[in-house]
Symmetry: D2
Subunit: 338 residues, 4 copies
């Protein structure tokens, strides 16, 4: 088999506007187990939208963007369903920015010989394939952007805004999350930014001038997100996966307290995950546990134990078609940070 035989069926990102899950979600509301949890999560996201005071923070870890959910996240920004995004570097750079540059993810299989893929420079994410040579172009584009900037420490948010700006002139695919967020003044944070394709580009940038270069200050990210939390009063988390984005967004409540500007706990929280609570890790910790830390209020929290690609389209299609977002004012948090 040749490379092109592996990379022929592109993943197509689901369009939650093209079908209406309202009836299914309403029916699931009266079931039990994960079906009911899914319906409750949809209703809770809708409540966040209806709460005029509420800033909604979307947290994304894992590879759902590569797996067909990329447009969902962009649509959540476009239709004013979320106000802030906290994600892993892989989600923002390797997946979203990567496709904005015109590249694709491909439908593959988990039952393959990884050594054969290695030889062909094909990277595998479970049952999905990527052309590694295209990823290298992505790395280099990050380097070019860094090269074009003033030498100083940046928050990841500041850097990602530059990526959004770059896309307004250079995108091959419109409506990427990075570009849509840029255009709507929705901040995107990657607290572990260098742990991604961006890291490769930035290391190369720094290696060329070890004294004078762009650096990424994750402390600044934390300051900025905490500032948003302080100014928001009410906030809600919509968490896909867990990991650093979940912990980082939760921690802003404590950080506000540390700064002497006590903020309310996150009032609403939804998490969709397959993580196993028994290992005591942050990804798997329940939202009730987060209450003991003073991060998430109890009462309006919902765990959905599912692999997100199977339930997220239902949840967001529901919220889209209920159209509570139509009357919602735009937060444009990027503006207050600059």
């Amino acid at each position: 088999m040749q490379k092109k035989d592996f990379l022929k069926d592109a993943v197509k990102h689901i369009d939650i506007k093209a079908f209406d899950s309202t009836e299914i979600i309403e029916a699931m509301k009266d079931m039990s187990f994960t079906a009911r949890d899914t319906a409750e999560a949809a209703k809770l996201l809708n409540r966040m939208i209806s709460d005029d005071e509420c800033t909604i923070i979307l947290c994304i870890a894992g590879s759902t963007s590569a797996a067909g959910c990329m447009q969902i996240y962009a649509d959540m920004v476009k239709y004013n369903i979320v106000d802030v995004v906290v994600a892993t570097g892989a989600v923002i750079v390797d997946m979203d920015f990567f496709e904005a540059l015109g590249f694709k993810h491909y439908k593959g299989s988990a039952f393959v010989d990884d050594k054969e893929l290695r030889k062909l420079y094909i990277d595998r994410i479970y049952d999905t394939f990527i052309d590694e040579e295209q990823l290298q172009i992505c790395d280099n584009t990050i380097k070019e952007i860094a090269d074009s900037l003033a030498r100083r420490p940046y928050s990841s948010r500041e850097f990602i805004r530059q990526m959004g700006k770059y896309l307004t002139g250079n995108a091959k695919k419109p409506n990427s999350l990075v570009q849509v967020a840029y255009e709507n003044d929705v901040p995107i944070f990657c607290p572990a930014f260098s742990d991604s394709s961006a890291g490769f580009g930035l290391v190369k940038h720094q290696a060329e001038d070890k004294e004078n270069h762009v650096s990424i200050d994750s402390v600044k990210d934390f300051r900025e997100l905490t500032e948003i939390k302080i100014k928001s009063t009410v906030s809600g988390l919509f968490i896909i996966g867990g990991g650093v984005p979940k912990n980082f967004a939760q921690d802003t409540v404590i950080c506000a307290e540390v700064l002497g500007k006590p903020a309310e706990m996150h009032k609403y929280a939804v998490q969709i995950t397959v993580a196993d609570v028994r290992d005591g890790a942050c990804s798997s910790s329940t939202l009730k546990e987060a209450c003991s830390w003073g991060k998430v209020d109890s009462g309006c929290e919902q765990m959905v134990y599912a692999e997100a690609t199977s339930v997220l389209p239902l949840i967001v299609s529901y919220v889209y078609h209920i159209r509570g977002w139509e009357n919602r004012s735009k937060r444009k948090w990027n503006k207050i940070l600059e």
Copy 2:
């Protein structure tokens, strides 16, 4: 809180005819991870329906019937999507027959004090509640049915047919799986029948006459199901959960061989489960592993790692609306067994 405060919101069983998941499944087909697996499972079930030769065996373990999927299973029989059912005793007796008698499952919570439930005679299945006093009426009905029968060993299938017959005159809720299967000559097997509410009724029945009574011969079940497999040539499995029903249905291929009437491996197989392959149990073993045993052919098998309430409605709604079942001939396997 009183009993009635816990038992007030009944679970409503989802009606997969009332909404059309065709568009969602078609979109999921081009995604990855569980979304694509779900779509592939729907398409594979549809292929089984289109294969004129194929007998479709529905295997059910776990509590999805209590959790809102009860009508899905009855509809699969009614609309000629499945030809044989293999299930746990709990699915058939404690859940389906129980509701046919007019009782309900109730929406509850996993975050309760089980001691308090105990005092109120409320049984809990994760986030679902049952009135234990009603379950006792169910036990007694089984005893009455046993009391009315000729004393001899029965296969569970024979006994469940008597339950179906009983319901034709006594059901408070129409269209239970037990009754619909009876009316459509679709056999239902419970290889561990006494491991359920049926067991309580039958023990009581036997205790009244320790020498002369109805007994349940699970070997006969195995003979009967193997006979169906032998006469079917082509067969497909649609498995919810795993456990004894999965193993029992798979084993008929080997049993046919033991009887000197070699049968083909099950040609198609779908399994929806959250079980973890790493423990080496049957429930969690992959359908590829079943190939090494000569039970399931490889190539047309699909695992869906999901809690079934969240994906089963999408899969069966798709198959229903594609309407391949309209031209399918009824197998009426009960007839050949009597």
Copy 3:
């Protein structure tokens, strides 16, 4: 590769007497997560042993016997740590009785081509291999035993005693669970007996004389185990996996009530499993949930979320070396049932 290349390294069953886990368990007692759960389970099993009134029921589902734990279970009977065994047919027949006949399980791999195994008549259990031709000899031995018995319904316990008796003269490997249990009057129940290699032998037996034959009455199993529960007053469950054995043993409390002889809930319970509570199945339901059903008392129950091969050796080695079993009287429950 030839068959002998796959079947060359036999699984060796761990001998928990050959090493002493006391120090590790004591250290784990002061840790958290699964380590502490493991230590608590060991201590709870030890408490069951110290309670003079307590009948200890070992429930086994899954394939740990094939995976190196076979001698642990036999030793638990031999050293008077358990009084009753409830297991799947596969554990008792395909694994334990199979090895007693002189056959072996082999160390294999999960990363193989199952079609190739199929061609060689090798069956796979996750990373373990079995020679299918040897399994057929096991089937036939069951048939021979059935052929030698008076034609009537048997409980699985009665039949398994006959298997134990057979082994006293014919075993190639001493100290199998089936034989040791026979010799110590410890009853073994398989509530879904025909769902195993035994089923193949028994179907063949019945097929030769469809009117007059041995049958397996699982209702009788339930009556017998309930009788033990009623006579035991205090009881404890030690559960590996879940499935039918767990449910069956738990249900005896309810069954006693149905028979008008109310029994106390199981006072102690340990369960080792990787099952996921979120699917609402019996295997995964917590022991606290069992309290709502009036089956297991709360306060003395411990879940250990682990694949059993990794923690069971530590738990039973601890209990063995504490030597509480030395002063424990033998229950010999088989005697009261005959």
Copy 4:
């Protein structure tokens, strides 16, 4: 209940030198499932130690340090079993540095009312409790350290070395991982350093002087770890959990290539995790999948699907008692970075 009632039984960290797991590991080698995987992992770590060329990188995510494994990690550094540590900020700051300051983790329960804990300022990690007021002292100590440093961007490694230096004069508990690593010139990296208690202290530090302050440049971390990888030729990963540390350490191979200094794939890799491969996230991706990315060589990799507290003590006790580390030269990678 008062705060002191919840915080009375401190977690005691297991000492893998105090017991010898050699016999258990050797026995598990001949079993199957997780037991054999555990034994293979122990043997593979031992192989890394025996390979003179090999730099061993310990990656830690999750809360095993809080749960009783803290001394294991410090001992791995002290006894020259690992050469580099990559961890989450929580592991290094909230857990290890926190205890070095004289504070404790406490044995708690997962079955508590989190609102009650909230009122008492007790934080919960699954079944483990922490005094939040003590965590605040930890935050402030970080701020003090930052205040004492020259204003410029630091890699997390540089900053953590300052924490180690601080402890040489101020530690209340000796032998913390941070201090032992400092004393042995073993670098510690936290690629998402601000996502922890350190973040709180650093945000406070920066808030006091928004123009001139210490910042944490995670790109520098990546450069430094890649430099180690380039100079190591052979490398092995020993991964607890997954998350950012796993991805970050794996990515150094690619980063070296990006810098034009191609490095070999990591030759050895062990990962202990409960993560579920089906969600396509980095934490759960298999080490075979990492081969397709050119990060981990296939052949010498071992996944252990277990909650780490239950198997890690066995693995490291084995390696300690085999004593292959006695003849191993110290890498002292910190020296080449300064």
